[in-house]
């Protein structure tokens, strides 16, 4: 027990401290990375689900199982599928389609982006609800962290149509942009994922004839 022992103890404490600091940093970095990586995965999954839902619905714009018997609720004339879009602006769209069970009765479907105040409980200040409405029923949504849902509309000549588009039948294809972020993130470092459908054209709206 003398100077050597004291030196050993001090040395051990320093090395132990360094190890503890390393472990601490490792734990912190690991936690951050875990949040970040799983957050990114969640964002991607949310975006993928959204993209699939949107594509599923938008591809059916103008579809009706009873193609030859259906009446357009607006005109009381036989339904013209090329005029199936009821209303369209930058962040919302309404259109006619025939939803499951595909019974030949026209249904209306609307998508619109809610205000940020709808998601005020979440730490992310930018996330919003993307609402889907069937036949004027109660809007349905889940907070998937949507921060942007924007559409651009194109006419037959692929020219951009300024929203809101009020003339029926003008829209022939739609560019869809969706951005999703985490609703909460470590140190407010939000992950984001972006999906863009450059030209989605429902064949019922823009199809050509085979002859």
């Amino acid at each position: 027990m003398g100077f050597t022992t004291l030196f050993d103890i001090a040395g051990s404490m320093i090395i132990g401290g360094i190890l503890m600091m390393t472990v601490w940093n490792l734990s912190d970095a690991s936690t951050e990375k875990t949040y970040s990586n799983s957050g990114e995965l969640t964002v991607q999954q949310n975006l993928l689900i959204l993209a699939q839902i949107v594509e599923f619905d938008f591809r059916k714009i103008g579809y009706c199982n009873s193609w030859n018997a259906i009446m357009d609720p607006r005109t009381k004339q036989p339904f013209n599928s090329s005029q199936a879009i009821i209303y369209a602006d930058e962040t919302s769209i309404s259109f006619y389609t025939d939803l499951e069970p595909y019974d030949g009765v026209l249904d209306s479907v609307s998508y619109y982006l809610g205000p940020v105040s709808d998601c005020s409980e979440t730490p992310n200040p930018r996330d919003r609800m993307l609402y889907r409405v069937e036949n004027n029923e109660t809007p349905r949504s889940a907070n998937l962290g949507v921060t942007d849902f924007r559409m651009t509309y194109y006419d037959v000549n692929d020219n951009i149509i300024s929203p809101p588009v009020l003339t029926r039948g003008l829209i022939k294809s739609i560019e869809i942009n969706i951005t999703v972020e985490n609703t909460a993130a470590y140190d407010e470092k939000y992950s984001s994922a972006f999906w863009k459908q450059i030209r989605l054209a429902s064949r019922n709206v823009s199809r050509s004839k085979t002859e």
């Binding site: 995965l41 193609w67 090329s82 085979t210």
Partner: protein, 417 residues
Amino acid sequence: MTGKAILLVVIGFSLTLLSVGQKFGSVSNRAVDNYVSYQKETLAHNIAISGANIAANEIYMNPTWTKGYSNMQFQKGNLDVTVDIVDADLGLREITATGTFMGKSSEVKIRIAPSNFSEYAYYSTYERSSPLSGGKIWWTGKDTVWGPFHTQDNLNVYQHPAFLGKHTSHKKSINYYKNKSSDAPTITGIYEPGKNLVIPPQAVENLEAAADDNGLKFQDKDSLYLIFDRDSLRYKYNYSDEYTALYLPTAAPNGLIYAKDMVVRLKGVVQGKYTIGCSSSSTTSTEKGTVWLDDDIVYATDPQVDPNSTDLFGIVAENYVYITENSVNNNNINIQASIFSENWGFGAYNYADRPVGGDINLLGGIQQNYRQAVGTFGSKGIKSGYTKQYRYDWRLAFMSPPFYPGTGGFRIVSWFE
């Protein structure tokens, strides 16, 4: 002792780092899996769409094609296509295409039906009145076409006419009276410039076989006077004759009435689905094969009042369909029919010199070879003939009068994906 402790520390750190690395790796893999899964679904869907288009093209090339494809290699995936005839009377077929790519599959169902000239609100081969007429006929800002439109000619536009039908097409180009900014048309439907759709040869004469098979045929006379009287048809061959009545459901069960090499004079009230065909054997005279509208020809149940009306009428003439110049026609004329003229067109006879006749209230469509005039106009309005009040009968988008000339092609009536 110190060595063992250090070994334990190293092993502990290694295990911890391995665990964390494995977890991060797993998360990354799942993220990639998401993209790959979406990509596979997209490719399977694209294969299915390609299959539907390929099958539609097969049917276009060979209308009897129902073979389909089974497990066909396509774009490194697999394609299955079936073709079912879902309504033989309408010729309606359903193509079901299933694309498979690396365990993901997607299905597209389309329905196609034979295309028919009656679906056009307006069709013309030439936008002039005869081969000798060099002048173009212009669509102006006062003109709105509500139904499908096609001309084999270039489209001549002045001050933004509107073409609001389901599809609009014309020959290669648009002729602007002044320039594009002052004259460009408004087109809201499917737009197909450059489309080629010709009137099939002998479109009218081909009706004779159907008339012989459960239809009603008149022949060996010069003229035929017809009055549709709801479920009856009254006819005579000379102006001074008495009319003879026929009960139409038994006289023309298939709905076709055919006047072979005759002049037809027509009026009345149509109940049910009928087509009157009028042919000519002459290649030099246009007298035969011409239908004269001596008075109103309207439906028993007006579809504008009752959209469920099942009355549907087609006038198919080899030469002209003329509005007769007579006193009853000088105070408007109501026409509810789809009108087809194989060689010439629909117009008002003596349009430039006849008195002002009011309006042509047409509910239906016009398909003609040469666009004809119905009146003349000056700065103070109409000078002779008629003003046009044409409305497309929307039912013609889905149904057609019996044996109305077909285009030879198919149209996609429904696309499910």
